[in-house]
């Protein structure tokens, strides 16, 4: 099957700076693909190159097998949902949504019908005559989505679309976006810096750092088998252990990652389960989250390890400065390629 999008050795230089450095990836048709990374990692540059707002310095971009590297955005079958929504302030909701058909020469009654149909899909048909200024953030978000979907693009690009919404609305929209994507069957490329969002929605995630792609995998693989320290920290908020502590625990200086929830916190001096590894330290900080609490323990070897303790676990001393013991199974260690 021809990939919906293919990037072949794509780089984008701003002066001497590599905003994107030799990235190659391909996205399957109908896939929900996330580009994940902190700000400045190159994920948005990557999206802008696919949309055609910017041209790569090196490399090729193919859409549905066709080389579009030199094709302007208005001739690409790609649509974008912008971070600030970019709704036209002088047009009503329906006119905004009908903009794509309008510039392609679709007659007024037909494009109005199409607009209402798509607004129905995002459950906004009632607000068709409002102006964008009268909408809430979540509603603007849906109008932006409808305005892109009406063109039935081969690929829909979403640039941190939920970034400006509050937490509750964001979670609702995640579910809705995923449902809409499955309903329309369009390839989604989703840029985000929120690893929770990427893991919960995407089929595959490309993790970016400093213009390079660190790892491209399914959410589960990324979480369970991070290949680099960066991915371990950024995607799983995992502890990355190296140097003295690694030597102390495993007997070798090779770095490894361990997820906070794989570490058990027990009272200092308490017996360690058979076959488990352990170390002791001083409780520095404790964050209570309800179902779990997050413990930051300074180990005797120096580095701080984070552990997640379920609410139901046997009570132990929780005062800062207490000595505690950390224990975990050998299998929960993930060896890393670097630190």
């Amino acid at each position: 099957m021809t990939p919906a999008i293919e990037l072949a050795g794509v780089s984008r230089l701003f002066g001497p700076v590599h905003a994107l450095d030799d990235v190659s990836l391909s996205v399957a048709p109908g896939e929900f693909f996330a580009l994940l990374g902190p700000s400045g990692s190159g994920k948005t540059t990557c999206l802008r190159l696919i949309a055609g707002f910017d041209r790569p310095t090196h490399g090729k971009i193919l859409l549905d097998g066709e080389d579009v590297t030199a094709i302007p955005p208005f001739d690409r079958s790609v649509n974008t949902v912008f971070q600030d929504y970019a709704l036209f302030p002088h047009m009503s909701v329906a006119e905004n949504v009908a903009y794509g058909p309008k510039v392609r020469g679709v007659a007024e009654p037909e494009r109005k019908r199409l607009a209402l149909e798509v607004l129905e899909l995002v459950r906004l048909a009632k607000l068709a005559d409002r102006s964008p200024a009268q909408l809430s953030g979540g509603q603007k978000q849906r109008v932006a989505l409808a305005r892109a979907l009406i063109n039935k693009p081969k690929v829909l690009l979403l640039d941190e679309p939920l970034g400006a919404l509050d937490l509750r609305l964001r979670e609702e929209m995640q579910i809705e976006l995923k449902a809409i994507q499955q309903q329309v069957g369009i390839t989604f490329v989703y840029v985000t810096h929120d690893q929770g969002e990427a893991l919960s929605m995407a089929d595959r995630v490309a993790v970016f750092r400093d213009g390079r792609m660190e790892q491209l995998d399914s959410p589960r693989e990324l979480y369970v088998h991070p290949r680099t320290a960066f991915v371990a920290r950024f995607v799983g908020s995992a502890n990355v252990v190296d140097g003295e502590l690694a030597k102390h625990i495993t007997g070798a200086a090779r770095a490894f990652a361990i997820r906070a929830e794989a570490i058990e916190v027990i009272a200092a001096g308490a017996p360690v389960p058979a076959g488990a590894l352990s170390c002791e330290g001083v409780l520095e900080d404790l964050h209570y989250h309800g179902a779990t609490s997050r413990w930051h323990v300074r180990t005797d070897a120096g580095p701080i390890l984070a552990a997640v303790r379920p609410e139901g676990a046997a009570p132990i001393a929780t005062a800062r400065g207490c000595r505690v013991r950390l224990a975990w199974s050998r299998e929960s260690l993930v060896p890393l390629a670097d630190t």
């Binding site: 208005f74 912008f82 903009y99 309008k102």
Partner: protein, 301 residues
């Protein structure tokens, strides 16, 4: 000081009154007061024999204004010139403003701002007289056109009835050029401000949705620039309607509203007629603004 501040704290009415009193006094007496005096004056008439103003309310002066074909000619001539100047200034200013707002680097932008404003720091009279020299029969403009071999084009333009004349300096065409030059900054500045407020993402969204650059211009840039265009055109339109120096220094001998006001209140001594003439631009601008509003020029504000 502290006691006064304490007294005013919580008494927002006093506070507001204190803040607004000086500007309101100024605005009230100097602007509105004189405008009302002018309006009053236009409803008086002059006694034909004694040439004295009769302070009795009458529409006689306005009747005088509209029954004399010469007066109507003057109004239409001024209106046509103002409209032509406004349209031309908008067309000339748009690419400049668009470049300044969207493409210029900060340095280039500063340079352009200075370039646009610099002529306004020079005396207006000096500029008008300089233009008369530039446009004269043996002036540098005709010399320059001669160097380019375009003199026949100039002669053809000057041979055109109404706008032509013996030379640019003594034709409506020349006057038009000076007007456009003079008021162009007043069009460029508000237009630039309006275009600067159009976010780049809207233009990208338009292209992303399939609009070619021309369609983006028509559907997005132009509608969002309309408030700036309206503001700029009010300047160019009203400044042309009221000006009396340019028509008296450059161009054909036909009268303009401003010249009429100047002459009627001066040598002719007919203050009511001068007042009536100066009410005409106010009415025209009011009509223009209400038309612009109806066409939705301010919807994007």
């Amino acid at each position: 000081m502290r006691a006064i501040a304490k007294f005013l704290y919580g008494r927002r009415g006093y506070y507001l009154a204190l803040l607004l009193l000086p500007p309101l006094l100024w605005l009230g007496t100097v602007y509105l007061g004189s405008l009302l005096a002018l309006l009053m004056q236009s409803f008086y008439a002059i006694d034909e024999f004694t040439a004295r103003i009769v302070p009795k309310l009458t529409l006689e002066t306005y009747r005088q204004l509209v029954i004399h074909p010469a007066n109507v000619d003057i109004i239409l001539r001024t209106l046509a010139m103002a409209a032509a100047v406004t349209v031309t200034a908008a067309i000339v200013a748009f690419p400049i403003a668009n470049y300044m707002a969207r493409y210029a680097s900060p340095r280039m932008k500063a340079f352009f701002y200075v370039g646009v404003m610099l002529p306004m720091w020079t005396s207006y009279l000096v500029k008008v007289y300089a233009w008369r020299l530039v446009l004269a029969k043996q002036g540098i403009l005709s010399w320059f056109l001669d160097q380019l071999g375009l003199l026949p084009a100039l002669d053809a333009a000057l041979a055109t009835p109404v706008i032509g004349g013996p030379s640019l300096a003594s034709s409506y065409l020349g006057m038009f050029i000076v007007f456009v030059y003079m008021w162009l900054p007043f069009m460029i500045l508000p237009l630039t401000a309006a275009l600067e407020r159009v976010p780049q993402s809207l233009l990208q969204a338009s292209a992303d949705l399939g609009a070619r650059p021309g369609q983006t211009f028509r559907n997005v840039i132009l509608p969002l620039a309309l408030p700036g265009l309206a503001a700029g055109s009010v300047f160019t339109f009203s400044l042309t309607l009221g000006d009396y120096i340019i028509p008296s220094v450059v161009g054909a001998p036909g009268y303009f509203i401003g010249m009429m006001v100047y002459q009627q209140q001066g040598t002719a001594g007919n203050l009511p007629l001068a007042a009536a003439f100066s009410v005409v631009p106010i009415i025209l601008i009011a009509i223009y603004l209400s038309l612009a509003k109806r066409l939705g020029a301010f919807n994007a504000l």
